[in-house]
Symmetry: C2
Subunit: 255 residues, 2 copies
DNA sequence: GAGTGGTCTAGACCACCTT
DNA sequence: AGGTGGTCTAGACCACTCA
């Protein structure tokens, strides 16, 4: 006898115009979000609940939800439900601060979980970057990072064992850059960053409790020291709604 | 009696494993792309054609197509069909080259179409950036840019009329930065760039012959001259599969 | 174990692009 | 005018999460 809503979650198709139903539903939910009715992190009613009393097919409801997901307004936890997305973190690839730092600076709480840490054979892409044979050993770190408890990215980091022998003996849940500096005296002099929109594949999606195919952002960072040696090679898979890139650059004096 | 294929486009569900059908279909198409069978720009068979002989519902076929779209491998022209995406353009927000320049440098052919050019009232966002009243006049330029004939972005540019009086009299299909420099002696000393994944809304989607909701990338650029005056305020809506961001930065000497 | 989203079918009609 | 994708319905069953 749980108080199952018999009444529609929205009064009536709510919108009008000649736009498709799913967009009207979208608009309605957006209004609920903007009104503060649904704060960040809140869970939406279930898809079937959203249908009740409306005569709308579940597929249509889902269409609206997918639209909102693409816009970055909501996200889903696989087979759990739909939630309102928190505001994105601003990320500046030009700065040298790590994840822990800039998330904290923005008044949010960062967390890191190390999923695996091992000496593993280099895959194709990593081998090319390091200029070594495919299968040659590299420290390989897989970590999940969260903001305010929400998993937002998984990353694979590769470090050459000749550069930082015994790396895995150190605590790996904090800033790797810090460890390399403090324990090995290695600091970064140059950063190469590539980013592009992607879809999360099975492995990354699973680590983020997302569905495979969820829109994401892939960031590949290669950092070098003053001698041009590779310090880290890092691939980060982000939920696409979790970040916002900001760069501020002054023109070089002459050039 | 057109030679309508009675046979399935793929021999059989092609894949296996315990993954969902739509992913098997996806995998099959990926293989066709990788094999060179479907070159960039090629049109896929119609959704109904992809069904023939397979016993698979159209919705499932579409699921596979959406997946490939999210991955950036294919794109659609609204109500026309699905096409193989060409490789992305590499964009470096750190460099001062404009669209025409870096697209050409990469061996591709850039095109620009001016959709509208007028003196219009500033909307909220622009007014804040320029520090003027909402509704105050700004030169407003809407352009569509294409690569090898494929529309990849639409942009809204705002320029202060006090900075560049008579701007609209010049040819606007080339580099605006060049015009500002050559005709008004204004050059850019600082660039502020913000980017985030988004979904194309009705207006932008229409200009790109895309469906509203198509994944996109929004780039907002504000450029300043040496005196700190705003030179351009530019909002670019990109098809998400059309670009790839690349930044290469050296650490400042001391800090 | 109840409830959630994930997958899938088999239709239908429409708006629009293409020729 | 014919064909395309876009929207929508009304079911069904499954895998998984969560309490």
């Amino acid at each position: 006898m749980a108080q199952t809503a018999q009444t529609a979650w929205w009064t009536q198709p709510a919108a009008l115009g000649d736009q498709p139903h799913y967009l009207s539903i979208r608009d309605h939910i957006v209004r609920r979000i903007e009104s503060g009715d649904l704060p960040a992190g809140a869970k939406l009613p279930s898809e079937r609940q959203l249908q009740t009393g409306t005569g709308i097919a579940r597929g249509t409801i889902r269409e609206a939800l997918f639209q909102l997901e693409a816009e970055g307004l909501i996200y889903r936890r696989d087979r759990s439900g739909w939630y309102i997305s928190p505001p994105p973190i601003v990320y500046d690839p030009t700065r040298w601060a790590g994840f822990m730092t800039y998330v904290s600076e923005q008044g949010r709480t960062p967390t890191t979980t190390t999923l695996s840490a091992e000496l593993a054979g280099a895959p194709q892409a990593a081998a090319e970057v390091f200029g070594i044979e495919v299968g040659a050993p590299l420290y390989t770190l897989r970590r999940r990072r969260s903001i305010d408890g929400r998993a937002v990215l998984v990353e694979d980091i590769r470090v050459s064992p000749s550069l930082a022998p015994g790396l895995l003996k150190h605590p790996l849940d904090g800033s790797l850059t810090q460890i390399l500096k403090r324990e090995y005296g290695i600091s970064v002099a140059r950063n190469r960053v590539d980013m592009w929109p992607c879809a999360l594949t099975k492995a990354e999606a699973a680590a983020l409790a997302a569905k495979p195919g969820t829109p994401g952002l892939l960031i590949v960072r290669t950092s070098f020291d003053a001698q041009g040696r590779i310090v880290e090679y890092d691939r980060e898979y982000w939920r696409h709604d979790a970040m916002h890139i900001h760069v501020d650059i002054s023109v070089p004096p002459v050039a």
